[in-house]
């Protein structure tokens, strides 16, 4: 099966399907609802029901437009131009999925963004053996090593508690969709009150619908913001402390970059060893690597005898 890597996204010409395209196209698979993957009004979209819902929230359909939306729950299949498409769970954010494409006896898997560890919110990755794997490499070199989910949750809660006990406001920086809700949910599990920035709070109903709980709003709890807003808080720096919960927090230099005190290396992406695990479980004869450290990771894989190449698609980096 042919795969084309273009500036607009990844395209499967044999079956006329784009994977997370950056511009409007006739037909697109949306791996998850982050706006660098699910964007624009395509004529047809295929996604999991949760991804489709959040995508609709962010890209409402104008009254004069129509769009065909096909939803696939994990392990549900559909026929598409002579191929069979199957959604497979991906651990990343709520609703994220890998796409298995079976076409003329060949199995291709597009992971989208993915990790192997269990997420705080969302489902676990279902390993999917295939012939041709397209995988991301946001953290694809060996210095990136993340912590387990329970460890991350313990550190989030301990940081918040220690600050509150000292009369200091704990501030978390988290991305608007995914990390933000995971931190909030963790605080709820530990009965720590918090104030949540609107861009994170606005998407909480989708998480509540999946059974996740969230903390009560309180004036004197933790503060949860998207990155870059901390400077604007009306709290003097001596009265607050900031934690960065991110894959970038694996390196000490994240402290200066994100203006954070405490680093919690928890990500919705795979760290280096998880990537190796994921690739090993898929056991493909061809690996294409997109995003991040594509070339360095491809080189490392080639040294280990895999048929791997970097297939770069420009994307935005998120914290």
């Amino acid at each position: 099966m042919r795969v084309e890597y273009t500036a607009d996204g990844i395209y499967l010409p044999d079956i006329g399907l784009w994977l997370d395209p950056r511009l409007p196209v006739p037909a697109a698979w949306l791996s998850h609802a982050h706006s660098d993957h699910a964007r624009g009004l395509h004529d047809s979209v295929i996604a999991t029901p949760i991804t489709a819902q959040i995508y609709r929230h962010r890209w409402p359909l104008p009254p004069d437009r129509s769009q065909q939306v096909f939803t696939l729950v994990p392990n549900q299949s559909m026929d598409w131009n002579g191929a069979t498409l199957t959604a497979r769970q991906a651990a990343h954010i709520l609703g994220a999925a890998q796409l298995l494409v079976e076409y003329q006896g060949e199995r291709l898997v597009y992971t989208g963004d993915i990790k192997r560890r269990t997420p705080i919110c969302g489902w676990s990755t279902e390993p999917t053996p295939c012939d041709h794997l397209i995988i991301e490499s946001t953290f694809g070199i060996p210095i990136y090593q993340f912590i387990e989910v329970h460890e991350a949750q313990a550190r989030i809660a301990n940081f918040a508690r220690e600050c509150l006990d000292k009369g200091i406001t704990p501030v978390f920086q988290g991305y608007g969709l995914g990390r933000g809700q995971e931190i909030a949910h963790t605080l709820a599990l530990h009965q720590i009150p918090c104030r949540i920035h609107g861009s994170i709070a606005g998407l909480i109903p989708y998480f509540e619908a999946q059974g996740y709980t969230f903390p009560q709003e309180s004036e004197n709890g933790a503060i949860l913001l998207t990155p870059g807003l901390e400077e604007k808080l009306p709290i003097p720096p001596s009265k607050r402390k900031s934690a960065l919960v991110s894959g970038w927090a694996a390196l000490d230099n994240a402290r200066a970059r994100a203006n954070a005190d405490v680093l919690i290396p928890y990500s919705d992406h795979a760290d280096f060893s998880e990537l190796l695990t994921l690739i090993g479980e898929s056991n493909p004869s061809q690996v294409d690597i997109v995003h991040g450290y594509a070339e360095p990771l491809a080189r490392i894989l080639r040294q280990r005898g895999l048929n791997a190449r970097a297939a770069l698609v420009a994307t935005e980096v998120q914290i």
């Binding site: 070199i141 060996p142 210095i143 090593q145 720096p237 001596s238 402390k241 694996a250 390196l251 000490d252 230099n253 402290r255 200066a256 970059r257 005190d261 405490v262 680093l263 060893s273 450290y293 360095p296 080189r299 490392i300 040294q303």
Partner: protein, 531 residues
């Protein structure tokens, strides 16, 4: 080392100076005497005391060879990992974490390893030793073991704060601990003495840099309340340095507290026969045909790695003394300036700064103009009867520079130039200091020579933290200090400092200064008030 690493991580995770000191102090209290001595050294970023002549001589190449051996990563991957992390200790710790047996490393054991590494001259044996360490101990212990070797913990803990922690842990006066460490250069002995209430027994030692007394800027000569309280000396455009002499041994230390002895052999030769022990404070200047050469010419001398006779003939240097810290083995900090000056004059130095007791504002103005006419920066005013306040920027020394001020700033980002400068990082964004933070205040495009730009480009590439626009713009480690001149100042939301400079231009690259020495936001505000 594991406990020390845990404390160091806690220190890194707070920006509060007091909290950092408290974390260290609480840790020091738990240690017995031998471990206390080790811990304060390592936390100061060195396996040995400053006065210890032993050097570890473990370079980056050696660390890297050991890392390559134990991790089996290819050189390209290792280089990339190092570039992304920006610190040897941290890179090595990350890469060894999956392969090490993760045994705890005691401070005593760490000291044994430092000894072994120091004793052997063979690189092969050093690599074997490091390889063993990298495969045996926990990642945090490896991280801080290596950081102690490379000499910078990067946890925002200056030696001054270790001194304060020592004082706090022992329940002693911080100033007494600081003074003892300043005179002895041995934080390990000072920590023990502080614990056992014997700080007064700590003696002065030569051959480690003592803290310099610094001058406050005076923007306007008429602001001087009573001119008759002051002496005036020319402010020279050289490198502030300290000269130590004892028993025919001579060493030079600069403001960054680095030893620069080897760069200036003619100065060493000139002082070899001076009776010591003596410590002088002064300026390294290039002097030819009876006057100081312009700084940019002098800088060519500083940039030379190898000093040949030809270099010495082309750009000869001298040490011009203006104060004395030790005379015949006795510290004379606490003697008034008049007494120190008398001691200095008795030494029959060939280069001694001229000191003039001033009487009125007009005379200060005349002296200032005369100093400028001689090619010097301006004046330093020193208060009559004042003591040498080591490590202070007090009100007893004032510097009078250009009519409109310059700022010492640190470069935070560098950008590729255009045309002839397309291949080099010539356009720099710079910042002033506010506590631990660096706040951008402007951008400059001109003032450096091509050769300087070439050298700086190398430094910026090595210190890149983040790249944008395909590498055209790089955020860099704040390490390069520049002096910038400007014609005015205004408030501006464009830069983090909240101010912008009018027509900023680079006067020169201050290789003699570290980011800790640059001008502060408070200074910027003060200048702004005067515009």
């Amino acid at each position: 080392m594991d406990q020390l690493a845990a404390v160091a991580e806690r220190v890194a995770a707070t920006s509060s100076r007091n909290e950092k000191i408290a974390h260290v102090a609480n840790y020091l209290k738990t240690l017995d005497d031998v471990d206390l001595a080790r811990a304060v050294l390592y936390l100061s970023g060195s396996p040995h005391a400053a006065t210890d002549p032993r050097k570890l001589t473990v370079g980056y190449a050696t660390l890297r060879a050991a890392l390559e051996e134990v991790t089996k990563w290819d050189p390209e991957t290792l280089s990339l990992c190092y570039r992304e992390v920006g610190d040897s200790g941290e890179t090595i710790a990350h890469l060894c974490r999956p392969i090490t047996k993760a045994e705890p490393l005691s401070l005593g054991r760490a000291e044994e390893y430092f000894e072994l590494l120091q004793q052997t001259r063979l690189t092969r044996i050093k690599i074997d030793l490091l390889a063993t360490i990298f495969q045996t101990y926990t990642a945090p212990a490896i991280k801080f073991f290596v950081k102690t070797i490379t000499g910078n913990l990067r946890i925002g803990l200056q030696e001054k704060m270790v001194e304060e922690a020592v004082a706090q842990a022992a329940g002693r006066d911080a100033e007494a601990v600081r003074a003892a460490n300043n005179r002895s250069g041995n934080i390990a002995r000072v920590a023990l003495a502080a614990r056992h209430d014997q700080l007064q027994t700590i003696e002065a030692a030569l051959f480690h840099p003592l803290d310099f007394m610094l001058a406050q800027p005076l923007d306007n000569i008429v602001d001087l309340a009573d001119p008759t309280e002051w002496y005036a000396e020319d402010k020279f455009d050289g490198i502030r340095s300290q000269l130590h002499v004892a028993n025919g041994k001579v060493k030079l230390y600069t403001r960054g507290l680095d030893e620069t002895t080897d760069a200036f052999p003619e100065i060493i030769l000139a002082f070899t026969n001076m009776p010591g022990p003596v410590i002088l404070d002064g300026e390294i200047l290039s002097f030819k045909d009876g006057r100081a050469l312009p700084f940019h010419q002098f800088q060519q001398r500083i940039a030379r790695k190898k000093v040949t006779q030809k270099t010495i003939n082309e750009i000869p240097v001298v040490f011009l003394a203006y104060d004395i810290l030790m005379h015949r083995g006795e510290l004379v900090f606490d003697q008034p300036i008049e007494h120190r000056r008398a001691l200095l004059e008795c030494l029959n130095l060939s280069q001694l700064s001229v000191q003039i007791a001033v009487e009125n504002h007009a005379q200060v103005e005349d002296l200032f103009l005369a100093a400028r006419a001689r090619g010097n920066e301006g004046l330093v005013l020193k208060k009559r009867g004042s003591l040498y306040e080591s490590g202070r920027r007090g009100a007893n020394w004032l510097k009078v520079k250009r009519p409109f001020a310059t700022l010492d700033v640190v470069v935070t980002a560098a950008e590729q130039g255009h045309g002839r400068r397309a291949g080099v990082l010539s356009d720099v964004t710079f910042a002033v200091r506010d506590g631990d933070r660096f706040l951008n205040i402007g951008k400059a495009y001109s003032g450096l020579t091509d050769e300087e730009i070439k050298q700086l480009t190398k430094i910026f590439r090595a210190g890149a933290i983040e790249r944008y626009a395909g590498g055209r713009v790089q955020l860099v480690k704040p390490e390069v200090v520049l002096e910038v001149a400007f014609d005015g100042m205004q408030k501006s939301p464009r830069h983090k400092s909240g101010y912008a400079l009018r027509f900023p231009r680079i006067i020169r690259w201050r290789q003699d200064k570290t980011p800790a020495d640059i001008d502060t936001l408070a200074r910027v505000r003060e200048l702004f008030e005067k515009v």
